[in-house]
């Protein structure tokens, strides 16, 4: 299976306390400062849509967002451009990018520490129905890859997988770690 267009979303804690509007100038700042290696283009504000994509930093290779889909607020990385490498490389690239963005938000003084990874919850999805339909065949094909990746990400600690089985949606799995990690710790795990 050609695993492309991986999305990774890190849920944030105390979502009710997060003022999503405050991320708008931060994302604009990332464009100004060219904070990320990817080409960043603009900021789209969808706060008016309930359980929507929130505020999106539109990029060429990928979009970053503070996303509220399913009323689960999180930092999302949505890979648009195809990527070379193995399935492990692509899972790692998306997760690392989401972690890095989350880390930047956690440490941005303008946000006063209000945006924090909740430590346990990561959602992985594949934004291409033809490559990865949301069915048993895809789940069977991808689970071994996801398990190998999660073992690395959580440094061998336990975690659970919970698939979204609504066939019309994107292939998607909620990963929950049994113990809490910081974004720094997860980035270190991926680096080792």
């Amino acid at each position: 299976m050609d695993l492309q267009h991986v999305n990774a979303k890190l849920l944030v804690r105390d979502a009710e306390a997060v003022d999503v509007e405050r991320v708008i100038p931060v994302f604009h700042g990332w464009i100004q400062e060219r904070t990320l290696e990817e080409i960043l283009l603009d900021v789209a504000d969808y706060r008016h849509v309930p359980a929507g994509p929130g505020v999106i930093l539109i990029g060429h290779e990928a979009n970053y967002s503070l996303d509220d889909a399913g009323y689960r607020l999180g930092v999302r990385y949505n890979r648009k451009a195809p990527l070379e490498g193995s399935a492990q490389d692509r899972l790692e690239q998306a997760t690392r990018a989401a972690l890095r963005a989350c880390n930047l938000l956690e440490n941005d003084s303008r946000l006063e520490g209000k945006i924090r990874f909740d430590g346990r919850n990561l959602e992985l999805s594949v934004n291409d129905r033809l490559l990865a339909s949301n069915n048993d065949a895809t789940r069977e094909a991808l689970e071994p890859e996801i398990r190998v990746f999660c073992a690395r990400l959580f440094a061998g600690k336990e975690y659970s997988l919970d698939y979204d089985r609504e066939p019309r949606r994107l292939f998607s799995v909620a990963v929950k770690a049994s113990e809490a990690f910081t974004s720094d710790a997860l980035l270190r795990n991926l680096a080792s």
């Binding site: 492309q4 464009i31 008016h48 849509v49 060429h60 291409d128 129905r129 490559l131």
Partner: protein, 751 residues
């Protein structure tokens, strides 16, 4: 960009109508040719536009990030998909939805595309289309294939073609309609799609149908071809027909459509439309885009001559069996309910009661209800589209349509199902109340994504929606029912001319900075198929617009007479009084350290740092050009007052003088001792600003200068009320363009 793009052809083979499959294949080949440099960028631009693939803001590869202009280093480098439009820059895909009608499976397809190729949002436009933003051109053939397999085409969604045929979304269920116009609108849409007679227009051509004359649903008077259902009795037999209007349109200078025929029988509908298309293709302007809409042709020829030419064309048309064959089966397609009729329940909560009040209305068929799903700014997520698909399957035979107010309506809902349907909509975040009220604000994309946007129409709409939403149900009923419509520039995509409170984006300089503003447009009428157009009263900084709304609505509540509509109220108190009421709001805050005033809604970037070079620390430097332009604005306002007072000759003359004043202001910035002689002003303006193209707008070129030249040529004319009104609109635009020209010239280019 999607790794799966090439796989869709095989996957959907046999599932697409052959003609659409072939169309998409041709487009894909054109993409390849353009990439190989074997197709001219201009030709490619028109071909992609005719497939609905539009450009988007910053697609020239430059963006002002609030500090400087950044070059965007796309991987495809300098490859373009049109003049000054880089290949990799995201674009907008418009998807035609004839009469707004969709089925559950189509909603699901749109959800998939929004998720996979766009930003997860589908946007409903003011012409019942769907738009997806931030789409890569390489992804468009796969998208089009998936749409084609779902029975949807993007063909001729943009470009110089017949655009989406819009229709009253209540057709077939409305108590006030003459008859159901749905089959006729579909037949016209199908007939004109790709028709050889419609391939050589100088500009777009927009048709619309309405089931009655009194309501707004079809907006017939602002369309190139507007059709209003009527019935009449001939020899004791009731016959169906259409009032046919031609040559309406909003745009920079709006024109009311003219009545072409008071009763066109169904069998003449398609052939007459074809004859109109042929006349438009043959005689419509081709070189000057700015005068190429049908409205100019009708205006220039006069309706009598235009009618004569069309009827002659009609007589010579070879017969086409498609003209009438649909009529026999027209009734057979009529929608039917899924569920038995029932009574609307008692509301069990205040929220449900509010929603029932504003978002439902009874159908003409007893026991059934039309439900409006009000979408904030016309946006809906992929998840919500799927939920909507489930809901329309659960309660109806998938009878759902988009509306020109950027909402959905679900038709044929049994009254007995309303409580459950409300519960399901609520679970999907789709049960916002206030449909059709002051909070249900219509807005074009504006500076969010449109290349021509001047101010943030969506940002303003979101802010007004938030503020008004908080108090909407305590508001006076007359205020609740007002319509607010916002465009990001004079082009009127947000239909600001036909709102009670209309706004369109302009920019002004204040304290040496460019500041986003909106022109306040009053006097428009939404009902009676957009019965009359409003005029701009005054430009107000964007951040003061919420206060404009508060003051105008408060004054209306306090001072209106019994039964007086907002439009009547504004006409009675007069624009001078309105201007006085808003006067202090036109000025910058005393404390200019509050930088938020110099930014647009939801955009932390300084509106234009290029203006920093002028008078930043030296206090307010007002040049003679500033004074001259301000005088021009005053004069155009006086022209409006003259129009309001019925003195059309004075209105005409004053509007003309205001243009001269603005031109003089520009010329005097170069030639201080310019005389007051009109010939000399126009001559110098032409030589210094038109011939040199300094006046030219990056998008519309010298269009507005022609307004001055024409006004000067006809300075001694005796105007009709309509002509006086048009000249005022043109003068307003000329003055705006003069402001922009002066700002550009006074602004050091920042890179």
């Amino acid at each position: 960009m999607k790794a799966s793009n090439a796989l869709w052809t095989e996957k959907l083979a046999g599932q697409m109508p052959e003609d659409l499959a072939r169309e998409i294949e041709i487009f894909e080949n054109e993409i390849s040719l353009r990439k190989q440099g074997k197709m001219d960028e201009r030709v490619f631009a028109e071909t992609r536009l005719r497939r609905g693939a539009y450009g988007q803001r910053y697609d020239n590869g430059q963006r002002h990030d609030g500090k400087k202009v950044q070059e965007i280093a796309y991987p495809s480098g300098t490859l373009t998909k049109g003049p000054n439009t880089l290949w990799d820059a995201p674009g907008m895909q418009r998807i035609k939805i004839p009469a707004g009608g969709l089925k559950g499976a189509q909603l699901e397809t749109l959800a998939e595309l929004a998720e996979e190729y766009s930003d997860g949002i589908a946007h409903i436009t003011t012409r019942q289309d769907i738009q997806l933003h931030y789409v890569h051109i390489d992804d468009t053939p796969a998208m089009m294939r998936r749409l084609a397999a779902a029975g949807i085409t993007t063909r001729e969604a943009c470009g110089n073609a017949v655009r989406n045929v819009t229709a009253c979304p209540l057709a077939g269920v409305c108590r006030d309609e003459a008859f159901d116009i749905t089959p006729y609108s579909r037949a016209l849409s199908k007939f004109l799609l790709g028709h050889p007679d419609c391939q050589n227009f100088g500009r777009k051509f927009k048709p619309s149908f309405s089931g009655c004359a009194q309501h707004a649903c079809g907006l017939a008077s602002m369309h190139d071809l507007g059709l209003v259902a009527v019935k009449r009795v001939e020899s004791g037999v009731e016959k169906r027909g259409f009032q046919m209007y031609v040559g309406g349109g909003l745009g920079a200078v709006p024109y009311q459509a003219k009545l072409f025929d008071a009763f066109v029988p169904p069998e003449e509908l398609l052939p007459l439309a074809q004859a109109i298309a042929r006349v438009f293709a043959r005689l419509g302007e081709k070189k000057n885009r700015n005068r190429a809409r049908l409205k100019f042709l009708v205006h220039d020829l006069g309706i009598e001559k235009f009618r004569e030419l069309v009827l002659e064309e009609r007589r010579n048309l070879p017969h086409d069996h498609r003209w009438t064959e649909y009529i026999e089966t027209a009734g057979a397609e009529a929608e039917r309910p899924l569920r038995a009729p029932g009574l609307v329940p008692e509301a069990t909560s205040p929220d449900f009661q509010r929603w029932l009040t504003t978002n439902t209305r009874p159908q003409k068929q007893e026991g059934y209800v039309i439900v409006t799903v009000a979408l904030p700014l016309g946006d809906i997520t992929a998840h919500q589209l799927r939920a909507l698909a489930d809901i329309v399957r659960r309660y109806t035979k998938e009878t759902v349509r988009t509306t020109v107010e950027q909402n959905f309506v679900i038709r044929w809902v049994s009254g007995a199902d309303l409580a459950n349907l409300y519960r399901d909509l609520h679970a999907a975040g789709l049960a916002a109340p206030g449909a059709g009220t002051i909070v249900d604000i219509v807005s074009c994309p504006g500076t969010d994504t449109c290349k021509l946007g001047i101010s943030s129409s969506r940002g303003l709409a979101a802010e007004l929606r938030r503020r008004l939403g908080e108090k909407s149900f305590e508001q006076d009923a007359a205020v609740q029912n007002l319509h607010i419509k916002i465009s990001g520039c004079f082009n009127s995509c947000g239909q600001h001319h036909v709102a009670d409170l209309g706004f369109y984006g302009v920019s002004r300089k204040m304290a040496g900075y460019a500041v986003p503003h909106f022109q306040v447009v009053l006097g428009g009428e939404w009902d009676s198929n957009a019965g009359s157009y409003g005029l701009p009263v005054v430009a107000v900084p964007s951040k003061n617009i919420p206060e404009v709304v508060t003051r105008l609505t408060d004054r209306y509540v306090a001072a209106r007479e019994i039964g007086e509509s907002f439009r009547e109220f504004i006409a009675r108190i007069g624009k001078a009084e309105v201007r006085k009421l808003l006067d202090d709001l036109t000025r910058p805050p005393a404390d200019s350290s509050d930088r938020s005033f110099f930014r647009d809604w939801n955009d932390p970037r300084e509106y234009s740092l290029g203006d920093l070079g002028v008078g930043e620390c030296a206090g307010e430097v007002v040049s003679s050009a500033d004074f001259g332009l301000a005088a021009a604005e005053r004069q155009v306002f006086e022209a409006q007052l003259a129009l309001e007072g019925g003195d059309f000759a004075a209105a005409w003359q004053t509007a003309y003088q205001s243009m001269l004043e603005a031109a003089k202001a520009l010329v005097r910035s170069e030639l201080a001792d310019l005389a007051d002689d009109p010939d000399e002003i126009v001559q110098e303006f032409r030589a210094r600003f038109y011939d040199t193209q300094k006046f030219f707008d990056p998008f519309v070129g010298g269009k507005f200068a022609h307004y001055l030249f024409a006004a000067h040529r006809h300075a001694a004319a005796l105007p009709t009320p309509e002509k006086a009104r048009h000249l005022i609109e043109e003068a307003q635009l000329f003055i705006e363009a003069s402001h922009n020209c002066y700002n550009r010239l006074a602004t050091p280019v920042s890179v």
